[in-house]
């Protein structure tokens, strides 16, 4: 029970730092789980993170896998709730604020001022992902093809993922 509480608090704290998602808090998560609480060693941490990447969904769910490893299903629940609930509450408050201020003429332009930052940061995370994934000439071909496909067409992204996976299977 104490362990679950610790998990909840550890991930709840991380949740508030996670501006930009999971990648942003990876170093801090590592420090808390490996160095402070000694819940796992270095290699396990990396493997669990890779494991989480193999699943779909927001990659913040790496927290869930870590929670499972520390304390089984209950640990997974504690880690997931710790990670999601504080952020969701803040988003709820933010949504309420925008609904309340909807009538103001300055509201929409003000909101729109944040958009380029979001797009820029998304582009940045794409570039960082590309750097990590670009292990061979073939992966750069896949990255380039996928970029153009998503940018210039309206087809489902599923084609890109399946194509990338199959090419990797066939040639890597």
């Amino acid at each position: 029970m104490i362990l679950l509480g610790q998990i909840l608090i550890a991930f709840g704290t991380l949740s508030f730092l996670a501006i930009g998602g999971a990648i942003a808090i990876l170093p801090e998560m590592h420090r808390l789980l490996v160095d402070v609480h000694h819940w796992m060693d270095d290699a396990t941490f990396s493997q669990l993170f890779a494991l989480a990447q193999a699943a779909p969904g927001p990659n913040i769910l790496a927290a869930s896998v870590m929670g499972w490893h520390i304390a089984g299903p209950a640990g997974m629940m504690a880690a997931t709730l710790g990670m999601l609930v504080p952020a969701a509450c803040l988003a709820w408050i933010m949504a309420g604020l925008t609904i309340r201020l909807r009538g103001n003429t300055w509201m929409k332009p003000a909101q729109f001022g944040l958009v380029p930052i979001a797009v820029g940061l998304i582009a940045a995370s794409g570039l960082v992902m590309a750097q990590a994934a670009g292990t061979s000439w073939l992966s750069f071909v896949i990255i380039g093809a996928s970029t153009v496909f998503i940018w210039r067409t309206k087809y489902s992204p599923l084609w890109v993922l399946a194509g990338g996976g199959l090419l990797g299977l066939a040639l890597l």
Partner: protein, 204 residues
């Protein structure tokens, strides 16, 4: 219900989804979001189901981005609340996470049993490369669709360079650039309003 009225980015949603559709839409986004849910969220919400226009979605995502937590996770709370209040927020959020969590449980069980990653490395390498391209492609698409004034584009590029190249911590980028972006956008709105004197009508 508002029927699919094509409006240039202002106002409430283009088409209001029912509660079940909201849940299923976000479940699709979560379950298919290999390598991150961002491109899927945009595809389903803007292109496939037309719940929001590009501009509306971008605004919600922009707020989701500056808050802690996954940007699409935050967006799911805000979009869900906008359509169906607390029920909507819960349905959208649960939908987003339910598929991935089930898969993660299976993967964790496999990991416990075999102590190793499933042997799918080359396939996942290909998927990871494709996912990186997806994210870049989505950023390009949104960037070009939004038709933002040049100064705002510069702010976006600055954010990108700071994060990808200089590796500035994200909270710092947000704290510095968010006020700048808002200021530029407000000033631009005032100028264009003065020019055309027919700016956007606020909804009651």
């Amino acid at each position: 219900m508002v029927e699919n009225s094509p409006q240039q980015g202002a106002g409430t949603g283009s088409r209001v989804p029912g509660k079940l559709e909201l849940f299923l839409g976000f479940a699709k986004i979560g379950a298919l979001g290999f390598g991150g849910v961002g491109p899927w969220a945009r595809h389903v919400i803007v292109e496939e189901r037309k719940w929001l226009s590009e501009r509306e979605y971008a605004s919600v995502l922009g707020m989701g981005q500056i808050l802690p937590g996954p940007n699409v996770g935050n967006a799911s709370v805000m979009i869900g609340r906008g359509f169906h209040g607390l029920t909507g927020a819960l349905l959208a959020t649960c939908g987003l996470y339910i598929g991935p969590l089930c898969i993660l449980i299976v993967l964790s069980l496999l990991y416990d049993a075999y102590g190793d990653l499933p042997r799918v490395a080359p396939f996942m390498e290909g998927v990871a490369a494709a996912a990186a391209g997806m994210v870049i492609g989505m950023a390009l698409k949104m960037g070009f669709n939004l038709k933002a004034p040049l100064q705002l584009v510069a702010v976006g590029l600055l954010a990108m360079l700071a994060a990808a190249w200089l590796r500035v911590p994200l909270p710092l980028i947000v704290v510095i650039l968010a006020p700048l972006g808002i200021w530029i956008s407000l000033r631009h709105a005032r100028v264009t309003q003065g020019e055309k004197a027919q700016g956007e009508r606020a909804k009651p």
